[in-house]
Each structure stands twice: as structure tokens, then as C-alpha cells.
């Protein structure tokens, strides 16, 4: 089955991101496709490459990256909502440059795009599964 996933909560504060990751991992291991994971609300914080949990804890951001979810052209399908990201200080290089801000924090396994990508995922997938509080 072709799944799309929406993640509405940030890492560490809520379990939603961990549960979504476990679901995605199990789905892939069982031969299903995760066509896109869309990060919305505080979920955008799952994409920060500055995340540094203690060594004895799971690394939520690296867990996402390890799933290696990409499209046929090798583009990341871990998609962060641009409007939600910018208002929370989550920037890739392009957005940082555009807004004259030094530095950027988006992990390279993710990409920033618009809300249309969420609707498109709902249309193209067999199931859209929402993980939130």
C-alpha cells in the first residue's frame, strides 16, 4: 500500500513523532511504500540538524533521515511546510539567503515546500495517516 504521513508535533515533547517514525519504519519493512512524510505545526522541528539529544536517548531527526524516503529522482520526501517552518525559525540555505539570515538548520534529508504537497499526498496515496496530539 502507498502511505503518506502527516506529523503535527515536534520531537521529544510529544510521542507523535516517534510513533509516526515507528509506523513508517514498520510499513517499509513490511513492503509498503511511504510516498511522503509531511511535517506541519511544531512537527517542522523534526527537521532540525542542530538537534543534540543525550547519548542514551533516541535521535528523532536522525531516525527520520535513516528511513531514506526519497522520490524516483532522489529528492527527499520528508517535506517540511514552508509557512510553518519559517515562523518557527526552521530554514534551509535558500530561505536563509532569501531572508538575509546567516546560517540554516534544515537537515539535508528533508526539504521545505508548500502545503500543496500535503494535499497532493492525500490525493496520490492510498492512505494518509495523521500523527498528532
Amino acid at each position: 500500500m502507498k502511505f503518506a504521513i502527516q506529523v503535527n508535533e515536534g520531537p521529544y515533547q510529544h510521542q507523535a513523532a516517534d510513533t509516526a517514525y515507528q509506523f513508517a519504519k514498520a510499513a517499509i519493512e513490511n513492503g509498503h511504500e511511504i510516498m511522503r512524510v509531511f511535517f506541519y505545526h511544531d512537527g517542522v522541528n523534526n527537521a532540525s540538524r542542530f538537534t543534540l539529544p543525550p547519548q542514551d536517548d533516541r535521535h528523532v531527526v536522525n531516525n527520520w533521515a535513516s528511513l531514506d524516503i526519497k522520490d524516483a529522482d532522489g529528492e527527499p520526501e520528508l517535506v517540511v511546510c514552508v509557512a510553518a517552518a519559517l515562523r518557527r525559525g526552521m530554514l534551509d540555505e535558500s530561505e536563509a539567503t532569501k531572508n538575509s539570515i546567516e546560517g540554516n538548520n534544515l537537515h539535508p534529508a528533508f526539504r521545505i515546500s508548500g502545503l500543496g504537497q500535503l494535499i497532493e499526498a492525500g490525493i496520490q496515496s492510498d492512505r494518509l495517516v495523521v500523527f498528532g496530539d
Binding site: 505545526h41 502545503l115 500543496g116 500535503l118 494535499i119 490525493i123 495523521v130
Partner: protein, 134 residues
């Protein structure tokens, strides 16, 4: 592009958390995709469409007026839980008079809000292809 039935389920009040306004942002984008869109309001979500919201005192954007624009985007199915209204001492007359113009009926102005029981809402939800919960 295939047409699916999308429902946006709103369960939180307008302010206090960001879910309501960011849900409305998704709905407005969704309007461009020509899908069959409906909204549902239950639990504290019914507060999102209460008439007379005033935000000057809390420094937040009053986005409640945006709901009036939904009719122009062909989004005219706003289901509201009867039980959730009653639990909060609210009735349909406390809600914004949201309307749309029905192109199949000589552009007559009709109400977008449909108060339904939770049982009816359950049946409507089960007909959806995609249900996004906020």
C-alpha cells in the same frame, strides 16, 4: 487529477494553540486542488466559528473573518457537532452566519453551516477518503 473527499476535522478552539489557524491555512490551499472539501467542528473546535470574536486584547490575529471567504472557494459544507455545541451552552444562533451562493440554484445564498448529531457526523466521516485532524 482524481477527486477525493477531504474532511478537515477541527477539535480545538481558535486561540491557545496554533492548530485552528494553521488548519484554516491548509483548507485555503486545498481549495485550489478542486477536491470535494468539507469541514467538521467538534469539541472545542466549535468555538472557531462563534460570532463576535475579538482579539485586540491578546495581540493575536483575528482570523475568524476568513471563514466568511470559504463560500467563495466552493467550500460550503461546514458540519458542526450538535452535542459539542450543547455541552458548551452554545446554539446555532451563536455561530457566524456563514453562507455560499449556490450556482445550481440561480446563485441563491444558502447557509454553509449544518448542525448534525455525532451519529450523523460519524456517518459523514466514514464516507471520506481523507480526514485531516487538527
Amino acid at each position: 487529477m482524481a477527486t477525493k473527499k477531504f474532511m478537515y476535522l477541527n477539535r480545538r478552539s481558535s486561540f491557545g494553540t496554533v492548530y485552528a489557524i494553521e488548519s484554516l491555512e491548509v483548507v485555503l490551499i486545498a481549495a485550489a486542488f478542486e477536491q470535494d472539501v468539507s469541514l467538521a467542528f467538534m469539541d472545542d473546535g466549535v468555538y472557531q466559528i462563534v460570532e463576535g470574536q475579538e482579539t485586540d486584547g491578546i495581540g493575536m490575529k483575528n482570523f475568524s473573518k476568513t471563514f466568511h471567504a470559504l463560500g467563495d472557494y466552493d467550500i460550503n459544507k461546514l458540519y458542526v457537532s450538535k452535542e459539542s455545541l450543547e455541552e458548551r451552552g452554545l446554539s446555532e444562533s451563536d455561530l457566524m452566519p456563514l453562507v455560499y451562493e449556490d450556482e445550481d440554484d440561480d446563485w441563491e445564498e444558502k447557509p454553509s453551516i449544518r448542525v448534525v448529531t455525532n451519529d450523523e457526523l460519524k456517518a459523514i466521516m466514514s464516507e471520506q477518503d481523507v480526514c485531516l485532524s487538527f
